[in-house]
Symmetry: C2
Subunit: 341 residues, 2 copies
């Protein structure tokens, strides 16, 4: 044992358990047995262990901070993932700081610097829509700092990641609309090459094919999928006189815009046109009618992402281990997509 103040590592060594178990025991984590807790507390007293987080951060180089980089913290999806990350982090006495890229590649680079500046022990990130160069993420990996990506990932980085099965979510939603009698389903997607929208488009197309319904490119509208974009896309389809009986949007915001335009045109939802979104933003349950959507299991995603992160933190060589988790999303059926009599 080193001279000077005792650390959790000293307690761990004496008891032949891991430092993380000691930390959990000291934090009264329910996953640790009462017996272990008792032993840890006894040894802590014996070694005159004094918890001092700032001092311990300075000594060991650990700040006990996780930096989370998200496009925007005010989307329900991202804020719920952060909530899930915090649940796990707090159990382990880690704190979370958030920084936003606002989908701006330049700002994303600066944000990574800001988090590194804050001496975080690692970074959890979701990549901005417009990012095409990933050098700033490579820099994190090159420094040996743990990095886990969630939801918005890229194949250009060899890195641990947690995603949902977007293909499955889109396939199930499209299948549901077909079962409700829809044959001409508009799809709102993004022109950007990020994985999530590509997978949702693929799910939409495959569900149509499996039901022997041809994929009609005229029904596919590309945009940034904000509320205004959804309005424009819906107006486009209506103005062109393209027949349609449903809209499946890869974004809840865009489907909200579609609902507004349909209302203005006195087109009834769901009797004339059925609607489904993606993301389960809270407002989808507030609207009249409430909107069918896909829940992305955001809190579980945050928890799994944090667990992956802490696994990585334990490893000597942060770069060699990558782990990919795929979670199943859940179709939430509401009035907007149901057959009327």
């Amino acid at each position: 044992m080193k001279k000077g103040k005792a650390t959790i590592h000293d307690i761990a060594e004496k008891l032949n358990i891991t430092a993380s178990t000691v930390s959990r025991a000291l934090n009264d984590n329910p996953r640790i047995s009462e017996n272990t807790k008792k032993q840890v507390l006894k040894m802590a007293k014996q070694l005159n262990y004094q918890p001092n987080h700032i001092a311990s951060a300075l000594r060991s180089g650990k700040s006990k901070l996780i930096g989370v980089l998200v496009p925007t913290a005010n989307r329900n999806f991202f804020s719920s993932v952060v909530r899930g990350i915090e649940d796990i982090a707090n159990e382990l006495d880690y704190k979370v700081i958030i920084s936003q890229s606002y989908e701006d590649p330049e700002k994303e680079i600066q944000t990574v610097d800001a988090l590194l500046n804050a001496r975080v022990d690692g970074i959890i990130a979701s990549i901005g829509k417009n990012t095409e160069n990933f050098e700033h993420f490579k820099k994190i990996l090159d420094k040996g700092i743990p990095l886990v990506l969630f939801d918005r990932i890229t194949n250009e980085l060899e890195v641990s990641q947690v995603v949902i099965d977007d293909y499955y979510g889109a396939y199930e939603t499209t299948k549901h609309l077909i079962e409700q009698g829809c044959k001409r389903i508009v799809h709102f997607t993004s022109p950007k090459k990020i994985n999530i929208y590509r997978e949702r488009l693929r799910g939409y197309e495959d569900a149509l094919k499996d039901a022997n319904i041809p994929v009609d490119p005229a029904l596919i509208e590309e945009s940034n999928m904000q509320l205004e974009d959804g309005r424009t896309s819906m107006e486009n389809i209506i103005t062109k006189g393209i027949p349609f009986d449903a809209v499946f949007s890869s974004s809840d915001y865009a489907v909200m815009g579609a609902l507004q335009v349909l209302r203005e045109h006195k087109i009834s939802v769901p009797s004339q046109v059925k609607l489904a979104g993606f993301g389960n933003e809270p407002f989808t349950s507030f609207t009249a009618p409430p909107i069918t959507t896909v829940d992305q299991k955001s809190i579980p995603m945050g928890r799994v992402t944090a667990e992956t992160f802490f696994e990585l933190l334990k490893l000597e060589d942060k770069k060699s281990a990558t782990h990919k988790t795929v979670l199943k999303p859940e179709l939430i059926i509401r009035e907007s997509s149901l057959k009327t009599n």
Copy 2:
């Protein structure tokens, strides 16, 4: 001039201008004249100045990070304030990191520690609803670290603050409802003693008094004002058979709950009951009918808060100077509160 690498302070000294002007000039800030920019760039070249933020942070103790503490980053109000703070901070080459208290006093204390751990140059905060002890904020001040509060403030701290005129917003909203013919206006408020709800209640009461309408305690419903609370409050009023012709809620979420309950009871909005909220959350414009609400000028509030922060950062004695700014909110009139014929 010191030996070794040149700093912005060296450039400032040579040109007899402030370091902050040098920094702005190097960042191509539009507020700095082209002539000054030219001089700064020339001197930077002459002194072989190399910008290196991490090195400069270590040298000067400045991390160029601002820590922002908010109850939740996913409320439109808080995320927009953060956006306004980032606008100003980025102009000055500062970065923003966010940490959430989730309205939990214990977590708020930890969050302050996390931000201090991240070596932020100062903290901008909005206090959680349930916080009653302010020692963790006093600790920031005692360390001589700049602190600015916005929106959720307390009189127990001598500190710079930026608030909106909640009294004015509530008074104007209530007056508007009276002008639309309402006489029995329900008010949703919080039992918590935080300034914003107290001021809104006062504005509501004064507008009634000024119109010679008695304040009826039976019309005032106290709750946490989430969507579910708004539902419960509305059901309470209806079940008790208390006559009412409008609801003015101190929270948009609660007024949304009221709208749902009124819809379920086939009570028409706005012809039978008029509605108004507070906060201008985006969903208030999505609903049918769209809901009248009060815009809290969140982006300007963020900008003013950041400006107050940077003024404070320049001062030697951070504790002696306090500055209070009050912004006027704006009543946004939508269909939910308008007289029908």
